[in-house]
Amino acid sequence: MSFVLVAIMLVPFVAAMASWWAGPRSGAAMTVASGTVTFGLALALVPAVARSQPPGATRASGGAGELGGYAVTALGNWLRADSLSLVFLIATAFLYALTAIFAVGYVSADHDATALYRRRLFAGINLFAWAMAMAPIVDNLGLLWVAIEVTTVVSALLVTIEGTDSAVEAAWKYVLIASLGLGLSLLATAVIYRAGSVVLGNSYELFYPKLLSGAARFPAGTVRLGYLLAVLGFGTKVGLFPVHTWLPDAHSEAPTPVSAMLSGSLLATCFYAILRYYQITERSAGPTFARDVLAGFGVATLLLGALYLASQRDLKRLLAYSSVEHMGVLAIGMSFASPLAIAGVLLHVLAHAAAKGTAFFGAGSVVRKLHTKDLERVRGGIGLLPWSGPMFVAAMFGLSAMPPFGTFRSEFYIVVGGFAPGSHGAERALAAVLVVLVTLAFLGLSWHVTQMMASPGPEDGSSPAKGETSKLMVVAMSVALLALVVLGVHPPHQLDTLIHGAATELGVTR
């Protein structure tokens, strides 16, 4: 199984280089191939990692030692995929594959796209996906930071390829704020290193098994400082309040395939980084501090996202604020003590990737059809787009956590986890606040969706002809929507096992 990990490391990178040198057409094909292959490889790892035997029984290659879970390792322990990383890897790879398909359709429907634009887009998507796939599978806290820094640089450059003034503004804000945040998280890495050196000696590698097994003896004050810096630093890239200000701009000015990956995968991958620090902190300083920090940031983020949703004018900005809202939900979910809530958080990562992907693909369809992102001018969507229109509406309901979608199941788990027996008053209050704010967000989203899709288009005949602009976009949307529904109605058994394994790893001290 180690070769699978090495393949995941190599395939998107090779595809990026090749698609840059080969030209737009082959670049498109290579991107799609690389996406599907990577997703397949990620799924291939699931059986090796998601087992229902209790830890202590025989282990797979590498094993996790005292961590109580299974993992696949490669390259002498430099790469490591345990259940936690596999959840995020699957989310990333899934969206990578679908975005590749969508991007081919999106670009072919755009008659202004130059060859240089296409080359940049496809090579950029591959490189971006490579960095995002590397982050969950490297076994080193420092290399995790390096991977996320690479995602920042690549995505900032991708935001600029549209070439408009507002794209440059968005890219500048993004790269400046995200780099400042990542500087803070580099400081966090150094602080954790110092905490570890009390136990592990002055010079050691930041491998997770070593860190996590020794974390109980790390000095608590130092670890708390490191955790706070990490939440603030990586939280800039997750989109937590108050360092989210770059997010609506960057996600709306990027080309739509890139926006889908930014919202659906990148935010989650950076949340994964916070989770690794969470694991160290809860073993060292106790879970209460770690949870309280996340609760505070989470509720502020959710509040901000829900409030801003109603007043949006730009379609992709609307979806960006919805991402902010969902990241708030993730943070609040992690702050609950029940294992069910954590399972909900991990399922939400997958479901949100699918839902956000569908929503952005639908937004791309609308933009291609009507040539505008302005919410005031988008009307009569269902009439014009017979396939993507209804699927877009479904995706928006998915983002509002309606049944039968996966997001309903995950947020339900989170709320039930908040009200679980043994939870104290603050958690219940937080769960209630979550429900209220998600409802508020639902109101905002459905208002806009109804306006866009269900109200009749302009009568003066200025609307374009009815029909889809590209079949591939529809295909991508339908696969994503199908995955969302499957996650909601009946998640596959192996996925369930995987998620419960990851939840156990995260909730060791419960």
């Binding site: 890495t189 050196s197 004018r313």
Partner: protein, 232 residues
């Protein structure tokens, strides 16, 4: 009579401690000077000087610990941060015919006072956290206070300036602060990681450079005053 008064004087720091703390304080003072500086070229040169101080710190630490990987780090950071990065930015400035001085939103005295306020905050936080003195392989802990203050003042620099070069220099000086902090906290971190961090910095510089150039090409200025269209 003087003798009894002097009986309680706390001991001075050792020579190594004194030199390293002086260098760390020098890094901090350069950030204050950057707050005052309006001319963009001068800011970049100050950054080069600051990076020289950081490389010297790494070199002093290497000499004290007899660690060859720290020498390599000092040399690499000197080449990258003192020579390459400033020349990249200066070349960009050379292409610009206007905008030799940056935009500032508040006066110098206000900026210095804000910088002092955040420095006090930084020192207080570091003092309260009691960073574990683990075998003391690294700079002394008071240098950590200077590093934390440098990081915070760089944030002030980014906030109080309205042009892309000053903001980028603010980010670079924050990286210098983080480098000093990592010399205190994680001096013996494996070389591969340190090299990774340095090369990431280089890549970030490339990204900054590309975006700066694009912005300049579109708006013929380096000011961020026009970058306020996206709101809400």
């Amino acid at each position: 009579m003087i003798g009894t008064l002097l009986a309680n004087v706390p001991a001075a720091p050792s020579a190594f401690d004194g030199v390293t703390e002086a260098l760390a304080v020098l890094v901090l003072l350069v950030v204050f000077a950057m707050l005052r500086q309006d001319l963009l070229r001068a800011q970049v040169r100050m950054y080069a000087f600051q990076s020289l101080a950081v490389s010297a710190l790494a070199g002093v630490l290497a000499a004290n610990e007899h660690a060859s990987d720290l020498y390599v780090l000092a040399g690499l950071s000197m080449v990258l941060k003192v020579i390459v990065v400033p020349s990249v930015v200066l070349r960009l400035l050379g292409e610009v015919q206007v905008d030799l001085a940056g935009n500032r939103r508040f006066g110098v005295a206000t900026a210095v006072l804000a910088g002092l306020a955040v420095s006090v905050f930084g020192f207080l936080v570091i003092g309260n956290v009691h960073i574990a003195a683990a075998g003391a392989a690294g700079l002394p802990v008071p240098a950590m206070g200077a590093a934390a203050a440098t990081v915070l003042i760089s944030f002030v620099l980014v906030m109080f300036r309205g042009d892309v070069v000053s903001q980028a220099v603010g980010f670079f000086s924050m990286e210098n602060g983080v480098s000093v902090a990592s010399l205190v906290l994680a001096a013996r971190m494996p070389l591969i990681l340190e090299v990774g961090f340095l090369f990431d910095l280089l890549v970030a510089v490339v990204a900054f450079g590309i975006i700066m150039r694009t912005h300049h090409r579109r708006s013929s200025s380096l000011s961020t005053e026009t970058l306020d269209q996206l709101r809400g």
